[in-house]
Amino acid sequence: MIKGRFKQESAPKSQKINTASLPDIIFMLLFFFMVTTTMRETTLFVRNTLPSATEIQKLERKSLVSFIYIGPPIQSQIFGTEPRIQLNDAFANLNEIAGFIETERLARPEAERPLMITSMKIDRETKMGIVTDVKQELRLVNALNINYSTIRGEVAR
């Protein structure tokens, strides 16, 4: 009996599917992506193949992190192959790091300033010389909380 009734209802030929809720679904997806992702802020001018490590930690609060990029320039025919420092959207010299950290500090509420982390995204082929120089600069301005950015993976042997 029941079977018969179902057959009757599915009989109408080529009924249009109601797409009224489709925009809602897409909007939901949109909001999901807006919430879970962050805007790409900088264009990289330096090559940035991160080294891998196993004992890594996540940086939870992205708003507290400022980035320093170090690596050989991508446009090597113009800028050479010597590793350079990139702050925000431009190449920088060592003496600009102090100013950069100060600006980053001022951009954050006072209560959060001690929690700030400087994440160093350094290309794996960089030599330690420039890294040590940057670390010394960071010490001078008391930005002691640092992170060596790495990806998860086995370390190089």
Binding site: L29, E55, K127, R139, L144, N145, N147, T150, V155
Partner: protein, 191 residues
């Protein structure tokens, strides 16, 4: 009367939303930044008195030279053995007089714990590759994490990285601090 109340055609709404979605997909990144967290030593105050010297038995000097070779406590080392070596050094299971001293300490939630005075001093050259430096840092951190795991297993029955209570995590961290000290930069062996 359906004619009096015509529906607005919402067919293109989905297209608009799709367009926005694609825009966000392209302009945003989802990667969470991961890495090795370290605390730099504060800048040296030239007027401050010299800190008391650390006894030689308590220090494990790990030197990485410009060719990425390792020197561990004066002997050629190997990155594959560094983790075991460091762990052995810090724990000093045989109470070797050339290895770090240990002392009992009272720590909240843990009670009496045996702590090591051992410190790893990491020194590198300006010519050391960053990849090697990170590999060494990683192995050293792994050694300390192993020790923390063992202590945590023994006291709480859970691995350190699976502890959820921040107080317990803090207690273990205090019992086994990440004793990696980075020397003041100096040039060894030139370019």
């Amino acid at each position: 009367m359906a004619r009096m109340n015509p529906e607005i055609n919402a067919g293109s709404m989905a297209d608009i939303a799709f367009l926005l979605l694609v825009f966000f997909l392209v302009t945003t990144t989802m990667d969470v930044d991961t890495g090795l967290r370290r605390l730099l030593p504060p800048p040296i105050d030239p007027n401050a008195p010299e800190p008391p010297p650390v006894r030689e038995r308590n220090v494990m000097v790990v030197l990485v030279d410009m060719n990425d070779r390792l020197l561990v406590r004066g002997e050629l080392g190997d990155i594959r053995r560094l983790r075991e070596q460091t762990k052995n050094f810090i724990q000093n299971p045989t109470n070797d007089p050339n290895m770090p001293a240990k002392f009992m300490d009272e720590i909240e939630l843990l009670g009496e714990v045996e702590r090591s005075r051992g410190v790893v001093s990491l020194q590198n050259d300006r010519g050391t590759s960053y990849e090697m430096y990170i590999a060494v840092q990683n192995e050293l951190a792994a050694a300390f994490n192993d020790i923390r795991n063992e202590l945590s297993m023994e006291r709480f029955g859970v691995r350190f990285d699976q502890l959820t209570d921040p107080d317990l995590v803090d207690a273990i961290r205090r019992a086994v601090p990440l004793a990696i000290s980075e020397a003041e930069p100096k040039d060894i062996g030139g370019r």
